[in-house]
Symmetry: C2
Subunit: 458 residues, 2 copies
């Protein structure tokens, strides 16, 4: 009786769908250190009724704050990693299946929405199980997914929307923003995008970039994984070898692999070059052992339904493959077993998303590009390259010169640089997953960007 009453009262306050409300009486059972409302269910777009996007939504008590849609990358990786490892209200203590309160949850200043996309990822599914898609189809479907969100939660229609994420979400986000712009009649109040260690330029993450991933080589040389001698040789052949499959360039690539031994047997965490390669036994509650992908120079090559190399996944598999927890999150029986990353039949646009920036900037969409500065997967070197290119091509004035910024205790937090229409923030000693590695710095960064608070200088 009490239970029914609470459901009614919560749904009355938040107007959210009662069927998706996560039972708050179970917080204690699952040792979740949280005392607010959360929803978990599916966004089921009218236009593509065979698509079922699983989402988790943590509304903030203060209704007028912005909504942040968070997307993880891959393609094929679940945004529940963002929710439960990075910037959600409760996250795992590193390398354990124990939840702790996230003091630096982005939910403290926003309504946080995590969606598993495209369908086939995590608990999201398509009726026929077909996961064939592309950048453009994903963007179109993500747009329908957003409309479905607003249909389910119409009271957030007037809130500002920020779309955030990392890695291949560097493609999902601008392509989705582009669809929103093109469909202005939907009146989605898109205000900004925040992309961490994201794929943007054609020289990053595309199939063609892999022939000779120059910015990764430069990053590894900067951090002394590659000798000075070889670095100079790479520099000489850069112009010739980028996007080039010819034998000479492939031989040079092979020399780099030999010198770095990154496809070898030792443990090296490509997502944080100074971090530990994290490989404890990861088991489901049923005792099934989940294999890690082998260490590779480019981890995107080998995400095949396994755990990406060196990743922290103990807590995720413990909870998200638990039948009780699955019920608790209102997961449909049609949803597959959850995996951190799934193999999709995915076609990438060889232009990546760099070409969309002029249009997005012209619309006044705020842009934060952030970079964990010790990530070897989508490294800071490539990001700086394309921002400089963009500045030059569009003749954008510098608003803030490159300078350090710092955290509350005055510890150096990284550097920033602002050109007209785009803020770049590096996060010192953070890898590919910035809000996981440097929670306080990531919190300050996202907060200050959204609310136009100047970053501490001195």
């Amino acid at each position: 009786m009490q239970y029914i009453f609470l459901l009614i009262s919560l749904s009355a306050i938040f107007c959210g769908p009662p069927s998706d409300l996560v039972d708050p009486f179970q917080y204690e059972y699952f040792k979740i250190p949280y005392n607010k409302t959360m929803y978990s269910g599916y966004l089921e777009p009218e236009d593509i009724p065979d698509h079922h996007f699983h989402y988790i939504f943590y509304p903030n008590d203060k209704s007028d704050l912005p909504v942040i849609l968070w997307l993880n990358g891959g393609p094929g990786c679940s945004s529940l990693t963002g929710a439960m490892i990075e910037n959600g209200p409760f996250v795992f203590i590193g390398g354990t299946p124990i939840f702790e309160e996230n003091k630096y949850s982005w939910g403290k200043f926003a309504h946080m929405l995590y969606v598993e996309t495209p369908v086939g990822v995590g608990f999201s599914y398509k009726n026929d199980g077909n996961t064939t898609t592309s950048d453009d189809v994903t963007a179109q479907n993500n747009y329908y997914m957003l409309l479905a969100f607003y249909r389910k939660f119409p009271e957030y229609k007037n809130n500002e929307l920020y779309i955030a994420g990392e890695s291949y979400a560097g493609t999902y986000i601008p392509t989705l923003v582009n669809k929103i712009i093109d469909n202005s009649q939907s009146n989605i109040r898109i205000r900004g995008m925040m992309i961490g260690n994201g794929c943007t330029d054609a020289s990053e993450c595309t199939k063609e970039a892999k022939y000779f991933p120059y910015y990764k080589f430069q990053f590894l040389a900067n951090h002394n994984f590659i000798s000075q001698k070889l670095e100079e040789y790479i520099e000489i052949h850069k112009a010739k070898c980028q996007f080039n499959k010819e034998q000479f360039c492939q031989d040079l690539y092979q020399d780099i692999l030999t010198e770095t031994n990154l496809d070898g047997t030792y443990e090296y965490n490509p997502y944080n070059i100074y971090g530990t390669c994290f490989q404890p036994p990861v088991e489901t509650p049923q005792g099934e052992r989940i294999p890690y992908a082998k260490n590779k120079f480019d981890p995107f090559d080998i995400i095949q339904g396994h755990i990406p190399p060196c990743s922290d996944a103990v807590g995720l598999y413990h909870y998200l493959r638990d039948d009780e927890f699955r019920k608790y999150l209102n997961i449909h029986p049609q949803s597959d077993q959850w995996a951190k990353c799934q193999s999709l039949n995915y076609t990438k646009d060889p232009r990546a998303t760099y070409h969309l920036y002029p249009k997005i900037m012209a619309k006044g969409i705020k842009i934060l590009k952030f970079s964990g500065d010790v990530d070897g997967v989508v490294p800071i070197t490539g990001t700086i390259y394309w921002i400089e290119k963009l500045q030059k091509e569009l003749n954008l004035p510098t608003i803030q010169q490159w300078r350090p910024w710092f955290k509350s205790n005055k510890q150096n937090a990284g550097n920033l640089w602002e050109i007209d229409g785009l803020l770049f923030v590096s996060v010192r000693n953070a890898g590919h997953m910035v809000p996981a590695d440097q929670k306080e710095a990531a919190f300050i960064m996202a907060h200050n960007f959204i609310f136009d608070v100047p970053f501490s200088e001195e």
Copy 2:
């Protein structure tokens, strides 16, 4: 009675001077997790009888192992930092005055000798209190100090000697080895030197290098403290500005300081750019508060009897300024109050020590040059520069190509590169004080170098 007996039995086994034996019954009182013999006292050379070098010696039970003399740098910094923070048998738990056993003590494979040098440093003193010295005088006096060690501990005369240390010990060590070579009649069995983040080339640590410390700029640019734009500008003016005081170069240096704000008010640990700037209150047991030196681009500029910026010193001041502990270490009343670093009247050789390498190598002295790869004070960039120069000038063949090595758990530990007569080892994610930051890697490195054990490859 039991006490007298133990003293006799220990001195009988080790033949060391009973007056310098540190009272083992007090280990428990001072919470020292150690059960072996240790000596603390003074080395008082015959040739310079007004010099009193304080030393701590931890002999190993196995008498035929090598002796390692460890020296910290500065000039002016105490080697007790090495003993109690880095590679001694018991060290402080970071940031606390609590001793713990050092699982990776170099004392496990050697007799460890720590000497505070030159006089004026730490507990070492000269009768007249005058601390005027130079590279050459220091080398000569360190040689006399070594003779005094062998007079005090003659049973180690036939053991192989390795001289190790970091930072400005990069000067103390080759200059001392040079004196040993020049005085071959003393029959000191010098076998090798091991230098971490050490001053070697004239472009590092000399007065003249400070006009335009190019390799620091390069290092900071590699790690994104400096913008790509400014980095390119520095690169263009490198040849002109190194060792050059002219206004244009000083202005460029000022631009770098402005962009990095490294002389600003925020906390940045120059000794480990990804580490915390460590500044808890440091107090003596009497409640005296010890001030930290202000954060500066070049911390060597401002060591004035204070704690170098961001350094861990809580335990050192707690113990080494404690009157009881001082008595326990057999410290003379003439010794000054202990300080981590002291200001000396010190004249540096503008040539540094690079010019000594051909001679030392010709004598077959083994050389290990190691580098914590995230140190901004004597960074890896400068070390690689002069090793490449040495290889070219002496036409030395490469013995091992640049390649990664790893620790026992297969985690990547850094890279190595061997030229005929010199082994270079980088230690990943270690700063200026390698054995403090990466104890296991430092242990493996020193052990493998001394005993000619190949470094793990796969």
